[in-house]
Symmetry: C2
Subunit: 346 residues, 2 copies
DNA sequence: TTGTATGCGTTATCAT
DNA sequence: ATGATAACGCATACAA
């Protein structure tokens, strides 16, 4: 026979958190009823509901997550899975912003965010965790995550991707930034300010965003009937950008404008230009992409394309929640607009 | 009436995850035994343990977190609580790195990371969550979080702070970067290269790190018998740094070196110098702090002080885990060394 | 509308 | 060393 302590309603147990049971006792109803009002069931008479709410308030009751999860088969948690090298690629660039965006969406929900840095091993801890019912869904900032890994996880859980992957067959839910039109706008800006020999420094061509930005550059050129200048890979790094700029300058081409697919690369490119005494933007105009910190820290403040990373985070979370709550019509793809920020480099 | 599928042991239930029960059946033992081997209890005979392990493997069993948590009163989760404006202050600076560090420590543990952006309201969702047993402990990157908030949370949970707060009475567990000696080294570098009239552009003086860096600057000066130059608040922003630099130049002081308490501010300062045709470092040498992206994107690559943010994350997590596992001797404070990175600005 | 009873998957306390 | 069995705190089907 269990040794029950006196469950006197007045005694606020030392450290034990109050349970449904206690609230029920205090309100003079059954556990089920308390559960109902806590979960916002409609079928409970106003006076009773009120009494329960009071008891909840007085006792400072807060539902036990584990118990709730166990009984309901829902964790009310979602995972944010980021590739192993967040800090290398997303670098210190967007991560904080995306997270902030996700959080603002989650704020008014009951979901909490679980952070996972994932290696690309579909059999690792990450997969076990995601598969083990620990989370109801996942947000993944993909960009170049392995195919096998992605497929695995989408089979297990509702997933929303941030940034379309390079493998288009994977028709999952995704929110992305409109890289194409962003690049297009940037390039058009170059054209409108008079540039006619426009090169581009691109990102690694196995990344979707690089491809899209290249495409946008090309479109703007085509639309204006301007001949395409050289295309050089800058690897999305500052050093790569500098190297690419040198390559362009040393080539047989003459250019008067460059669309650079990231601010970091643009920053490297501008430094090379300055070193060689080439005036920016007068001799060569530069437009970057990202509107990252680098855009302002560069010798010549960069004209660039701002990406709404915060919005992206918000919408990723929003989409997933709508998926989880069984909403009927969740669009499979959401493309967020970019914005040209005109500063001094073009 | 629920439509149960045949729970035959051999049939890998469509979607239901295998439970202890199933594993037990398969291995021909009791649930308790399975639980023991899963949790690494010693008191189980090798052959039986082996059989269980096989069953676990074959069924792909993974313990249900909710159930485990409910029964054990431990969530195996820790929270990372960041101030509301992560993205403004930590900005895109350190957040990703700290997270990466935390994650590497957590990787080999059973803990998962819960991310919470906290407003400073001790009664809000964050507090309810932290108090509700949803996590076993918390990591907080504090720097300027409200006192009341902090006190609240430290009373509820084991907490490790990243960065000492400005309120020293709060003697919680904390890991911090050695701002004092970092600033000292930076300033000494200035002195060693011949500077004799050394100013400093400081951060907001209500932040502990600002205070510490100021202190380091002063110490180096004192140690070398060099008179202290002007001290100007640069607000930890690029614009603030630029304004501060102008203020120094326009003052009655002449300076030949400036220790700037952040790269972002240093970046602004350098631009002002360049605009006015003042040679860096020949006429005025600049040393920054952080070794952030801004350090490289600046016109003159910055000599600066690198902070081991990744290590900081690692040690925060490590400290908390040791606290949670009841380790006897956990130091209350851990100060990580910084490192001077010499580039071109000084 | 409200209460009763059962189950969720583990851990932990007992016996054995 | 191993196996029953009782919590753990909540949701929910069902009865009232």
């Amino acid at each position: 026979m269990p040794v029950d302590e006196d469950p006197s309603v007045t005694a606020p147990g030392r450290h034990m958190a109050p349970t449904l049971e206690l609230v029920a006792a205090r309100a003079g109803v059954s556990r089920a009823t308390v559960s109902r009002v806590v979960n916002g069931s409609t079928s409970v008479s106003p006076p009773i509901a009120e009494a329960v709410r009071r008891a909840v308030e007085e006792l400072g009751y807060v539902p036990n997550r584990a118990a709730r999860s166990l009984a309901s088969h829902q964790s009310q948690a979602i995972a944010l899975v980021a590739p192993e090298d967040v800090t290398r690629f997303f670098g210190d660039l967007f991560f904080a912003d995306i997270v902030a965006g996700i959080d603002t969406r989650l704020e008014n929900s009951d979901y909490v965010l679980n952070l996972m840095i994932a290696n690309n091993d579909p059999s690792g801890k990450t997969m076990r965790y995601l598969g083990g019912g620990a989370v109801d869904g996942a947000l993944v900032v993909s960009h170049h995550t392995s195919d096998r890994f992605l497929r695995c996880i989408t089979e297990t859980l509702p997933v929303v991707f941030g940034g379309r992957s390079a493998v288009p067959e994977l028709d999952a839910y995704v929110v992305d930034v409109d890289n194409v039109s962003g690049a297009e706008i940037a390039t058009r800006h170059l054209i409108e300010r008079g540039c006619r020999r426009i090169a581009t420094i691109a990102g690694p061509l196995n990344m979707r965003s690089s491809l899209d930005r290249l495409e946008g550059w090309r479109r703007a050129l085509d639309a204006a009937g301007v001949e395409a200048g050289p295309v050089v890979d800058g690897d999305f790094t500052m050093l790569g950008g500098a190297a690419a700029m040198r390559e362009i300058l040393d080539s047989r081409h003459t250019v008067d404008g460059v669309f650079v697919a990231s601010d970091l690369m643009a920053s490297g490119a501008v430094q090379v230009l300055l070193e060689r005494g080439i005036a920016v933007p007068d001799e060569i105009a530069i437009v970057g992409f990202d509107d990252s910190a680098a855009a302002l820290a560069t010798g010549v403040p960069l004209t660039t394309v701002r990406q709404p990373m915060r919005d992206m985070g918000w919408h990723m979370a929003d989409m997933l929640i709508r998926l989880l709550t069984g909403e009927a019509t969740v669009p499979r793809e959401l493309i967020l607009p970019t914005e040209l920020v005109v500063r001094e480099s073009a």
